[in-house]
């Protein structure tokens, strides 16, 4: 019994004190998919539990700062009617495991954070730190990362305009791949947030179908490396920049027509983090029917669906009467738009 418990903690990458806190919050031990939810949401990648204290030191107090921590990207007012959204994020672990896809989905993820806010992505930048060129795997890592960034950016149509690259032996066993995106709001364009609201409003899934890629990716990305990076390859997401381009255009179109109440991309921990974040910011509950999620593989379990990190997907909240128009726009771009749940009055 005891070893079973220890094995479970290991599988879900939780420690004993975290387990006790979960049990206290729930008033009982976690059951079923709850294990997976806590594992993902409490991972460093989603919760920044160890870096939060440092992030708080960053300066953000200015009348020019329109959006800051807690949203998908920061927004700064440049004056003269121009506002920019920008964000930088690391994709180190996936890039070390599978450099092309790791770097490509880093670019894809950061772009989604920008257009989720309603800004059109206009530029990309990268800050890359590699190890000694002679270190094991370093040459294919450099090559794969550079190709991944270029391939994704070119296809999605957003130029990489600047960046910085360093080589130092301290990165030989853990390269750093930071991707940054900048988006522009034209005068009069609205900033969209992820705060779910309005009980009775619908929760709509849009974009690519859900597959098994990236299941447990968030908790993997939060671990330190051992010798088994090849074995972790299935936890790396696969990007499709073509889908992302369709998603950019269709999302900006529904935002322009003001059809959305709230919108959030599905990044780390996929549907889990996007739905929980939207609910928690709005102080509401979301009732979600996992059996309505468009799947690539019908045999996926609820845990797979909740934790999949399939790329190029978004979650949005809309008034029921606006769904038809939203669906028409997404279908025109060849994307799925499915109602998978609704906003409920209270959190759980």
């Amino acid at each position: 019994m005891k070893s079973e418990h220890a094995a479970k903690l290991k599988t879900y990458r939780l420690n004993e004190s975290e387990y006790e806190l979960i049990a206290r919050l729930l008033g009982r031990p976690p059951r079923g998919v709850e294990w997976a939810l806590f594992s993902a949401l409490w991972s460093e990648h989603c919760s920044y539990k160890s870096s939060k204290v440092h992030l708080k030191k960053l300066f953000n107090k200015s009348s020019r700062v329109l959006e800051s921590f807690g949203e998908n990207a920061g927004v700064v007012d440049l004056g003269e009617g121009e506002r920019v959204a920008f964000k930088i994020e690391s994709h180190n672990h996936p890039s070390f495991i599978e450099p092309y896809q790791g770097a490509a989905t880093g670019v894809g993820g950061i772009l989604r954070d920008i257009f989720t806010m309603g800004a059109r992505p206009i530029a990309l930048a990268d800050y890359l730190c590699f190890g000694e060129p002679s270190a094991p795997r370093m040459s294919p890592l450099v090559d794969g990362v550079v190709r991944g960034i270029g391939g994704y950016g070119n296809c999605v149509g957003v130029p990489t305009i600047t960046g910085q690259t360093e080589f130092h032996e301290s990165y030989s066993g853990n390269i750093l791949v930071n991707a940054m995106a900048v988006g522009l709001f034209r005068p009069g364009e609205k900033i969209f947030l992820s705060k779910a609201k309005g009980p009775g409003n619908w929760v709509v899934y849009v974009g690519a179908k859900t597959g098994r890629d990236g299941v447990h990716g968030a908790s993997m990305a939060s671990e330190s490396f051992e010798a088994d990076s090849a074995a972790k390859r299935p936890t790396v997401q696969i990007g499709d920049p073509f889908y992302e381009k369709l998603l950019i255009e269709s999302c900006l179109e529904v935002m322009k027509e003001d059809l959305v109440v709230a919108i959030q991309d599905m990044g780390a921990a996929g549907l889990t983090s996007s739905s929980f974040e939207m609910a928690s910011k709005g102080g509401v509950g979301l009732s979600i029917h996992l059996d309505r999620v468009p799947l690539r593989d019908a045999s996926m379990t609820p845990e797979d669906i909740l934790l999949s990190e399939s790329q190029e997907r978004m979650l949005l909240v809309c008034e029921p009467r606006k769904f038809e128009r939203i669906a028409a726009i997404f279908h025109r771009w060849g994307l799925d738009a499915v109602t998978i749940g609704e906003v409920t009055g209270k959190g759980l």
């Binding site: 270029g150 070119n154 296809c155 920049p241 073509f242």
Partner: protein
């Protein structure tokens, strides 16, 4: 009022807005043409196929777009002599559609390349950049992975004999046959190039040589 210029949009086209702005800046009235819809081939004074990745280009660059409904109408218009310009992916689509000779294959270095290029105007074009005369040099950016123009020897000879080579690279970046950067059909109403004139419209973009291409 003169007819509008139609800009074709496929899912994944990503230079469409730049081309739209470039045309509008030179005084043209511009309309979008959606990939899934046919249009009146007599309704446009010119058509432009911008760059990007039509349908993702996972099969072969331009292969799916060449068989789309909007291209059926574009073909009808082209046959009637309507000027058609293809840029980058638009060039690939026109070749795949058989409206231009040759094909575009993976760059010799097998990598995506992105740079400013010096180009030589081999034969002038009566519609796109009509004020530019053969022999001049221009400077435009490229950004492609499948930009290496290929045609068999007899085809190349035909292009040369009939004056269908539009632009050549001063320094070949991708292994293209005879340094070719752009070609025309025999009737000279269909023309395409790999470089992006819409990305060289203003000084702040790095150059202004592209503007002449959109002065119709």
């Amino acid at each position: 009022m003169s007819l509008p210029v139609g800009v074709l949009r496929f899912p994944g086209t990503n230079c469409d807005r730049d081309v739209f702005e470039a045309l509008a800046s030179q005084g043209a009235r511009v309309e979008w043409l959606w990939h899934a819809d046919r249009f009146d081939p007599k309704g446009y004074r010119a058509l432009v196929l911008p760059g990007g990745f039509s349908y993702g280009d996972y099969l072969r660059s331009g292969a799916l777009a060449a068989r789309s409904p909007v291209m059926e109408s574009a073909r009808e218009a082209a046959v009637r002599g309507v000027p058609v310009l293809g840029i980058c992916n638009g060039f690939q689509i026109l070749c795949e559609a058989g409206l231009l000779p040759g094909v575009l294959i993976r760059n010799q270095g097998l990598r995506f390349i992105d740079d400013w290029m010096e180009l030589n105007l081999v034969n002038s074009q009566p519609h796109f950049g009509r004020r530019m005369t053969a022999g001049i040099r221009t400077r435009l950016p490229i950004a492609h992975a499948d930009g290496r123009y290929y045609i068999e020897e007899d085809g190349l000879k035909r292009l040369q004999d009939r004056g269908q080579i539009w632009w050549t690279f001063a320094k070949n970046p991708n292994g293209a046959v005879a340094d070719i950067a752009g070609v025309m059909n025999e009737a000279r109403n269909i023309a395409a190039l790999m470089p992006h004139p819409e990305r060289a419209m203003y000084e702040w973009m790095g150059g202004t040589d592209g503007a002449a291409f959109f002065d119709l």
